[in-house]
Every structure is written in C-alpha cells, then in structure tokens.
C-alpha cells in the first residue's frame, strides 16, 4: 500500500528552471497514468532526483536536478507540479541519515568539508558514485555512522567530524497540541510510514489539502488538522487507519496563543475565548470537560493544557466554527455557544451622521473594518457607479465617506481592497438623531409584488411545492 510518491516532496504549480540555457532538460513522457507512475519511473533511477508532472497532459519529465542544484531556480508554473526526492530537499535526517542527500558542507565545529573526490589533506578510501552520493563536499553517512552525516575536514589537524545535522524528530518541536507543527516527520510512533494527505488510499479521508490550505497537509508529514491531542497521520498500513506521531514538546509554558485571549466575547473561531459561558445557545447546561458522561469524548483537560478546558465552560479546542461544548443532555452531544457575542472587529467610529448620512460632509475616509477608501474619481481597484460628475450634489470629494445612493445604512465608500468593492464607514448615527421608525411610519410600505413571481402554471406547482 506504499505509494512511490512517499519518497517525494511536492511543490504545486512550480517548475525548476536551469539558468544555463545550454543545458536541455530530459524529454517529456506523455500519457503516464498519474504522478504515482512518474514516481515509479523516477524512484529507482539514481540520476533522477525530481520530475515535473503536467496534470493536464498527464506527462512527466524526469530531472537529474533539484532546487538545490547549481544554476537552478524555482518558478511559478501554470501547468506543472514539481516533485523532488525528499532525501535531496529535506534539511533534517530520517534514521541515521544514510539517505541524506542535502547540501550542508560544514562540520558541527564549523570546519569546511573536504571534497569527497579529493585525497588531500585527508586521504580516505571512498570513491564517489551515484549510489553513495558522495558529491562535492556535502556531509554524508557512507558508513552508517550512528552520529549521522559527517565529512573529512579541510583542516589536516581534524581528519573528520560530524556535521551535527538534526534528525527530523528533533528539528521541530510542538507547542500545545501541535496544530502549528510543519516539520518533516513522516512516520508514526510505531514506525509506520504515513499515507500522503493528497491520496485516498489505503485510507479514504476528508482532509484534502486543497480544502485545508492553512493546515499544511503537505506530502505525508505528521499534522494535526482536526484538533487531536497531538500530530498524527493516516498510515500506509491497511490495518491501522491513523496513528499519533512521536514528537517532542517545545516546553511546558503555553505557546503564545494564535488567537488573542478574550473573556466577554469571542474573536474569529473563538479559540482564544477564556470566558465562563457554560450553556449552549439554547440554554442547555454544558457537560464538564473532565467528565465522560453523558457523553464520552477525547478532550481530556490534561491533554489540552493550552485550551483551558476548565469546568464546563464553552471552548473551541479543535478549530470548530465557534466555541462549543458537550451538553448535559444525553440526546444532544455537542452544541455551539453562539450566545457569546462576537467581539466586534469594527474600528472605533470617528464621526457621526444624521438620518442616513446623505448630507454627511466630513472627512472620514476608512471603512468600519479600517480599510482605506478608494478615491471617488479613481477607476481602480473598483470602477465606480457613482462619480463626482455623475452625482455632483453628493459632493464626492477625495476618498471621503459619502452616501450618494441614499443607502439606509449610512455613508459608505469603494475600498482599496480588491476583494471588497464597497463597505460602510467608521461612522455612527449622532446621538441626538431620531430616525423614523419603520414600525410606525405614516405610510406603511405596502407589498405590491414579489420580486420573483413565477408564472401561473408554476405557481400552482410551487403552491403544491
């Protein structure tokens, strides 16, 4: 069940470009089944270190280089993904580093390494071959030294020295539950190899990397996308779906929390909420986190020290949409605590307006989220429907907040954020403003027609629904 892609690290939408134009990369092999077949072709070849995979043409191009080879550079690509052998691009060691093919060339003591093809100043018995990878003066471990890759040094006084390259295990530690772990360990605590996150075999799963861009689900590295107690992965063992990875903790003190700690409201997903709300939105009391009834669960407080799973307070230990809890009602396992207000992410209003602000002539020029307004006379990033010349009475000056269309929610502006055409401004109604209430207006809006009337025939059907 082991995929040949497990030996590769992918860079999506990326190509390797040789800067010496005289060097011609290898031919494209068309109509291969998939990237796994390319990996099957490249894997056993000693002179293949990477390959381009073209998703649309199902073609692959084997490469004798990686991004660390001389005169190479990575560049954005619309057609290809770049798969590189992990041994050549990983900066840490698996096992004792016999497979290490990185480019560190200095010993732990800071001495430059002697090139393996040289016999001076330190003579030795090794002959560089494609198989032993004794290239240039890079650190290697041709004799399986338990201390990991080493090299002969250029100092005649010091024949050889270890290079002190860290194992992947110790190269990156985990804070809290390791949601931020982005290290390169790809084996579980029992030594099983991890299944790639972009593969659905041997174990199908919902964690498609494209759907979780912020979870770093690269290749087959240990990760924690679901708020488990520590990083884990699906294994290539069909008998064992998933297993934790054995990674060192960074320290006992809590990690600088990703989310600001709040008490009376929650920001974002509420992972930083540390208030004392302890009922669900619907008023059902929460179950204590240290209890296993009426609902059994894995969120033991001692395993989630950073998540403050105290008493029965609403919390968000697993990156859900909002703070939640197990409920004390047997028939209702979990529920959100939406009754906790969201912390407003609006900036403080800097001025006020009357009515709906059509007469506002102040100079506030940013939205309620603090985004700068676009000038009314500008055409980018948003082509305006309202311009100083098209509605002169609105006095659309500079990039000041105005209300040229009588928007009932107040002055607004086009924004300089390409993703946000318009937004309301950092303004509020003036305290002494008494807007007409819609509830008792002199002329109650009458409902003449529906916005989308279906034709008579459909109507009967829609009435039947």
């Amino acid at each position: 069940q082991r995929s040949p892609l497990n030996d590769f690290q992918v860079l999506r939408g990326t190509e390797l470009q040789h800067l010496l134009h005289a060097v011609i990369p290898g031919p494209w092999q068309e109509d291969v089944a998939d990237a796994e077949e390319c990996a099957r072709l490249c894997g056993p070849l000693l002179d293949c270190r990477a390959f381009h995979y073209n998703m649309s043409s199902n073609g692959c191009q084997l490469l004798p280089w990686t991004q660390h080879s001389p005169h190479m550079q990575l560049q954005r690509s619309g057609c290809c993904d770049l798969f590189q052998k992990k041994d050549y691009v990983r900066s840490c060691l698996m096992d004792n580093g016999v497979g290490y093919r990185g480019t560190v060339a200095t010993t732990a003591g800071g001495l430059p390494c002697q090139a393996w093809r040289h016999r001076f100043p330190n003579d030795h018995k090794y002959t560089p071959t494609l198989r032993n990878g004794l290239e240039e003066n890079f650190c290697r471990n041709p004799d399986g030294d338990p201390g990991g890759p080493w090299c002969y040094t250029t100092n005649p006084e010091v024949r050889f020295q270890s290079c002190g390259i860290k194992s992947c295990q110790e190269a990156a530690c985990i804070w809290c539950n390791g949601e931020d772990y982005r290290g390169a360990v790809d084996h579980t605590e029992s030594g099983r190899e991890c299944q790639r996150w972009d593969l659905q075999h041997p174990h199908p799963h919902p964690f498609e990397p494209g759907k979780f861009p912020d979870q770093g689900l690269d290749d087959n590295y240990c990760r924690n996308p679901d708020g488990s107690e520590r990083p884990w992965c699906y294994t290539i063992d069909p008998q064992l779906e998933r297993e934790f990875c054995d990674l060192p903790h960074c320290g006992s003190e809590a990690q600088p929390s990703r989310e600001a700690t709040t008490f009376s409201c929650f920001r974002g997903k509420g992972e930083g909420y540390r208030g004392t709300a302890n009922t669900t939105t619907t008023g059902v009391p929460c179950q204590r986190w240290d209890a296993q009834s009426p609902h059994q669960h894995r969120f033991a407080p001692e395993k989630y020290a950073c998540k403050d799973l105290r008493e029965n307070f609403c919390r968000n230990p697993d990156g859900s949409e909002a703070p939640w809890c197990f409920t004390s009602r047997p028939g209702m396992r979990v529920a959100f605590c939406y009754q906790i207000q969201r912390c407003t992410d609006d900036v403080r209003p800097e001025d006020c307006y009357y009515g709906s602000g059509e007469q506002y002539r102040g100079s506030v020029s940013k939205t309620r989220k603090g985004v700068q307004c676009q000038r009314w006379s500008a055409e980018t990033p948003h082509k305006p429907q309202y311009t100083p010349s098209s509605v002169p009475q609105a006095q659309l000056k500079e990039n000041f907040c105005r209300n040229p269309d009588g928007d009932s929610h107040g002055p607004w502006c086009y924004t300089i954020d390409p993703g946000t055409p318009f937004d309301y401004c950092a303004l509020r109604r003036c305290n002494d403003d008494q807007p007409l209430s819609i509830l008792d207006p002199p002329d109650q809006v009458q409902f003449e027609k529906c916005g989308k009337r279906v034709d008579r025939l459909d109507q009967r059907r829609s009435r039947l629904r």
Partner: protein, 227 residues
C-alpha cells in the same frame, strides 16, 4: 427545528464546512447568492476554501450521487451592515433552478410583516427528538408585533428584528438552523421576511423567537449583488 415536521423548502440551503459537515442554514435569494447569519462564520474575511452550500436535497446527509443534489463551493462572503447579523455568500457558480431548487423573493425595502401573518421556518438543525432529524424540517409560526414581543423580551428587540409568537408547545428554530429562512406566503409568493439568528433560547415555550428583519437590509442585498 423543534416541534416541526419533515417538509420541503427549495430555497433553503445547507452550509457545509471543510469536513463536509452541516453547520448552518441559508436562503437562496439569487442564482449565485445565499443569505445567511453572521454568527455562522468566524470572521468577515475568513478564507472559505472548502466551504460549500448543498441544495436540492431534503436529507441532512445525502449520499453522493443523490439525484438533484447540488454541491457548490462558496467563493466569497460579504458581511452585512453592523448589527444586521447577516452575511451574503457568493457561490462559485450559479445553481440550477428546478423543482428542488428555487429562489425565494425578497420583500420591498422597509416592509413590515403584519402581525398574525403565518410564516414558516426550515432547517436541518436540532429537533430535540421532536421530529425526524435526518431530513429537512419545517414549522409554521405566527408573526407578532415588536411591541408585543418587547413585553416578553423587555424592550431588547430592535426595529431591524422581528418576532414570532411563543407557543405553549416547544416549537422553533434551534442549533444548526441559524441562517435559515423565515418565509411568509404573501400574494401567491413565498417571501423571505426573516433570517434565523441565535436566540438566547430555542423553542422555549411561551417565549417569542427573534429573527433579523430582511426588509431593513434589502437595499444592502441589492447593492452587493449589483456591485
């Protein structure tokens, strides 16, 4: 929906998170636009990669390949005016309208639903055992005036909110229904008058339920869709 019964609401959509789980409801107001509740999303600028709306099915967990099921990724989100508790979701592509998927009309701006009007909520949320919770449930509720509602809610109901009568039997929207529609049948047409928002309690006997009044924000909706 507590105290409801299985029913059909072709404009009610299910919002799905990245694990494919239902977490809120929504209403289809345009082929490419869904109106939902702000509380359903962690921020106005959250990356929505992997979030989808599912339509055209009555099942909370439809099997892949179910006829009529449409699963459409969410392209972007626009938060409503402050205090509206609304968001508009733009879909990556237009839905296909058919018997199972229909638009719901928007009311005229500032329209106030007359007290006594019968309206309907729909959702795949918590039923508290009162109905079959694997399918869409609907419940009929009667609108009451804000004035009457504020007697029970001690003046907290604002004019951009509206209420339905609190019945003696538990009946109303609940966890997982937020963002869904309160639709009223007016002049031969179903009209989206309210959006289900998290209440302090849900389906609490004798307590009126509070919804966001859509007619106050219709100008914002048209403006976002137009811009």
């Amino acid at each position: 929906v507590v105290g409801g019964h299985p029913g059909n609401s072709p404009w009610t959509v299910s919002l799905r998170n990245r694990q494919g789980q239902h977490f809120c409801g929504g209403s289809l107001v345009k082929e490419q636009w869904v109106l939902s509740a702000r509380q359903c999303f962690s921020s106005c600028h959250e990356p929505l990669t992997g979030y989808e709306v599912w339509l055209g099915t009555l099942f909370q967990n439809p099997q892949p390949g179910e006829p009529g099921l449409q699963q459409i990724p969410v392209a972007k989100m626009v938060c409503g005016p402050s205090g509206s508790q609304l968001v508009l979701l733009k879909l990556k592509r237009s839905v296909i309208l058919n018997q199972r998927v229909a638009l719901i009309c928007l009311p005229p701006g500032r329209y106030v639903v007359p007290p006594g009007t019968k309206c309907e909520i729909a959702g795949w949320g918590e039923t508290k055992g009162t109905s079959d919770d694997v399918v869409l449930n609907v419940a009929l509720l009667k609108v009451i005036s804000n004035q009457k509602c504020n007697v029970k809610h001690r003046g907290r109901v604002r004019e951009h909110e509206m209420c339905t009568e609190g019945l003696l039997v538990p009946m109303g929207a609940c966890e997982g229904d937020y963002g869904g529609p309160l639709a009223c049948f007016t002049h031969d047409c179903w009209v989206l008058e309210g959006i289900i928002i998290p209440n302090r309690v849900c389906a609490r006997p004798g307590w009126p339920a509070i919804f966001t009044r859509v007619s106050v924000f219709v100008d914002w909706i048209h403006k976002v869709i137009q811009l």
